[in-house]
């Protein structure tokens, strides 16, 4: 009861404290239920210890609320996605089901074959209409041994596909969604537009067979194949890397018809 009292202003407390404890407990529980309902939650979340808050969403919150503009605030390394947020009042982040990323194949995993990213989007409420979705992949700089390698050797092609049918051994039916050529001399997050696929899974209720990501080191001797883009825990055991913060992230932007979009606010 002492915990909840601060949610009710002074006057309210007098009213509440007049009741005998049991009743005020019930009143406070009702009050909490009302607030949770307003947040669109059926029950009070009890996060597990393994819950991860992606830095990207923390930075989005800080940019949107104006906290990032405050003096001495930590720098944010990306532009606020105005286009996506101008039509959304809700942003959700998803990690893929790691145990399903290996595409069934006849032989052992060979480098460069696409990995499958299946995202469980069932937590998106039906009344939330998605407008955009992005897949964010992290790539880590590779120090070239020699400067002549820094030329065309450092190029990697990243292809992002939608998986159209349930994967069968050695056969992955896909449709290309986005592609990009990157040089491995820098570290950065790359954002790929996967809206067409995600909107088909959510808005059109079509089956979600996931995405597939293929990274090819464009070099005669692909020495750095699978070493630049962080797409699977199994491929990168670099010491000191926090995989939970570097793993692929699907971000959806939607609106449930209640309230204003997440346009940036100047800090009052």
């Amino acid at each position: 009861e002492s915990n909840h009292a601060s949610l009710i202003p002074e006057e309210g407390k007098k009213k509440v404290s007049g009741h005998h404890p049991g009743q005020s407990h019930e009143l406070l529980r009702d009050f909490e239920a009302t607030l949770l309902h307003m947040f669109g939650l059926q029950r009070r979340p009890r996060p597990s210890r393994s819950a991860v808050v992606p830095q990207y969403l923390l930075d989005l919150y800080r940019l949107q609320s104006g906290e990032a503009d405050e003096a001495g605030a930590q720098e944010v390394s990306f532009e606020y996605p105005e286009r996506s947020t101008s039509r959304a009042n809700t942003v959700r982040a998803f990690h893929h089901e790691e145990h399903m990323e290996q595409v069934p194949s006849d032989g052992p995993y060979t480098t460069g074959t696409p990995l499958r990213f299946l995202f469980n989007l069932s937590s998106i409420p039906e009344d939330e209409l998605l407008s955009t979705a992005e897949l964010r992949l992290y790539r880590k700089q590779i120090e070239e041994a020699s400067s002549e390698d820094a030329g065309n050797e450092g190029l990697h092609r990243i292809n992002v596909y939608e998986v159209l049918k349930p994967p069968r051994p050695g056969q992955l039916i896909t449709r290309l969604l986005d592609t990009r050529l990157v040089r491995h001399n820098t570290s950065n997050w790359e954002s790929f537009d996967v809206s067409p696929a995600v909107l088909r899974w959510t808005r059109d209720r079509l089956p979600n067979h996931g995405l597939a990501v293929e990274v090819l080191h464009l070099n005669r001797t692909p020495r750095h194949q699978d070493k630049h883009v962080r797409i699977s825990r199994s491929l990168h055991q670099a010491p000191g890397e926090d995989w939970d913060q570097l793993r692929p992230l699907l971000v959806t932007f939607g609106h449930d018809g209640k309230g204003h979009p997440l346009t940036r606010r100047t800090k009052r």
Binding site: P45, R92, G259
Partner: protein, 113 residues
Amino acid sequence: SPKQRGRKRNRNCRRHALYVDFSEVGWNDWIVAPPGYQAYYCHGECPFPLADHLNSTNHAIVQTLVNSVNSNIPKACCVPTELSAISMLYLDETDRVVLKNYQEMVVEGCGCR
């Protein structure tokens, strides 16, 4: 000596500070940001039987006095007249992170209605 007239505490309807501290209510395990926010609330008397926006003219006041408003009519209430949104970053029931803009979370103005 003139009696010290204490400042008559303004009991009329106005906005009062109320900081909602999520850690105080034990919600900070699932609400990542903000740690709390200035919600404010409305409280105070609505001495005039007319809603604020009606008693803005002398004529209304004269009419009211002349026609001595029926005392059975309930008094106007002190309620929020303008509210604004806040965005919140939280973990939902499935441990997924959500950034959401919630409307009508901060009282910007109060009035008698």
